[in-house]
Symmetry: C2
Amino acid sequence: MTTLATPSTTLSTPPSGAVAPPVAPEILTRAAGLVGPALATAVDRLDPALRVPVEHHLRGGGKRVRAALVLLSAAAVGADEQVGVVGAVAIELVHNYSLVHDDIIDGDRERRHQPTVWAEFGVGPAIVAGDALAALATQVLLEDPTPERVQAARRLAGANQAMIAGQAADMAYETRDQVTVAECLAMEQGKTGALLSCAASLGAVLAGGPPASVHALSDYGDHLGIAFQAVDDLLGIWGDPAVTGKPVGADLLAHKKALPVAAAMAVGGAVADELQRILGGDLTEADVARATTLIEDCGARAEVTAIADTHLELALGALDRTPLQPSAKDELLAVAHYVTARDR
Amino acid sequence: MTTLATPSTTLSTPPSGAVAPPVAPEILTRAAGLVGPALATAVDRLDPALRVPVEHHLRGGGKRVRAALVLLSAAAVGADEQVGVVGAVAIELVHNYSLVHDDIIDGDRERRHQPTVWAEFGVGPAIVAGDALAALATQVLLEDPTPERVQAARRLAGANQAMIAGQAADMAYETRDQVTVAECLAMEQGKTGALLSCAASLGAVLAGGPPASVHALSDYGDHLGIAFQAVDDLLGIWGDPAVTGKPVGADLLAHKKALPVAAAMAVGGAVADELQRILGGDLTEADVARATTLIEDCGARAEVTAIADTHLELALGALDRTPLQPSAKDELLAVAHYVTARDR
């Protein structure tokens, strides 16, 4: 349920000095071109009262990373990318319904440089706009219910359910003093990994690809989701405000129970006590600086960096477990590096 | 998206004097017995963070009218009621997700004599609890994707979309001065008719019943939904506060754009002008009495009564269009009379 923000460099570029902005993998442009019109056609079927807020939301754009993964996963098992388009549309519908609902839940008034649906149209219209997008995803897949599309609809419903569970866990953790690293990882796997995993395998499912390839592609997406979230959590504390558009230590200020805090609390002792005291109330600039130092000095930053690296490696490694069409595989590697870039 | 309230008499009983409360059709008890455990099993699959608010909501009960229609529609084409259970579970999941979301939208703090989900757990948890119920409906039908279940999932997604459009129209009408009778009927067809229509045909779909029977049962549910809503709108103004639990003229006080007001406004002239003036602001007891008189005297009450009667007749008539198993047909008739009882 997290937006994949534009990175300024890729993981392989050292995060220092004046680096050129990374070039987005070409598949993202191709995905926007292939999936955009199909998505617009799907949304055209909505009742006008729903279409207006939905089109407002979609005008914000988005990088179509999930759509790109669906197309690449079709190509990876030897099919034409076109085979994945219906799945890419369904994935984008589910992703965007979750964004519309999340913005209500988080009270966020702006997304992609425009007012969120609830801020523009009200909470009620935003709830039903999200509901309509979710229902439309199932309709799009089942309107021509081939066995492959039925399997795709089934997998997407499961991924949606896992994503919702991740969001529910995230909300539940907000009221808790402490969250373990394992709980945090499971929550992030649900919130982000489940839909990325579904996206990365859905094209192969629609193409009737071999189960071993579907499984490997699904694992790739799963690990990529966790790696992305771990990087996102690092940037939530150490991200450059000029790049992230957020204040220094944004996640600490927001009392977000993300991986770095969970890892630091797991150290226990004086570090955990002091951190808990600081994070227990409103944070001054000095508090943010002190908490950041505590988290870094106890090794938590390094631990989360290792988690990100490990899951990126696992994602890339999953692609070696099964024969995949080479150019599609290369593009899957490029997307993985792009969305886990560490100094975006 | 409306709860089918318990009627105190059936349509065939004159709405006067001390009448005995109607006996609920036996199928409602049977449906609760057959579907309740299956629904609980489905909900057991939810993540604990979601299960708690969902189980809270479901503890409120509900009369399982839609579940009953699914079972009867399986029996109507000669199948065992058991064949409809999976569809009844899916329909109840969709119905209940819509209730959870509607309660947020309407700001209702109580349903079925207990706090609504948002009132008890917060708006965020209520949004995701509803989302989880909606996704679960698709999961339940597609976990064993026989052609019949796939068709059922497809129809349910379409009905869900129509229900959402009805809810969106209802919200949009709140900000308008005037709504035509046709617009009001279309909105109510979506909000209530679509899911009843789906319920009344879903069992036949799951049983692989003949298309003509599926179509007739679907029409029965569609018209029944409109008849129910028309009766509900009449009760919103003329309902007995002792029975409805709402004040005299509840819908007028709430400025609800329901059929009686739409029909009165369509008369135009002095009646429409005076009514619009009264309904434009907060209503005194005298205003409610005057508006009620205006609506009655211009013939709007009679018109809405005729709409209810017509659509009940159309619902019953649809069942004569195709050969149906006689005892199931009798029970469908009984359910129709029960849910359109006029002085509940």
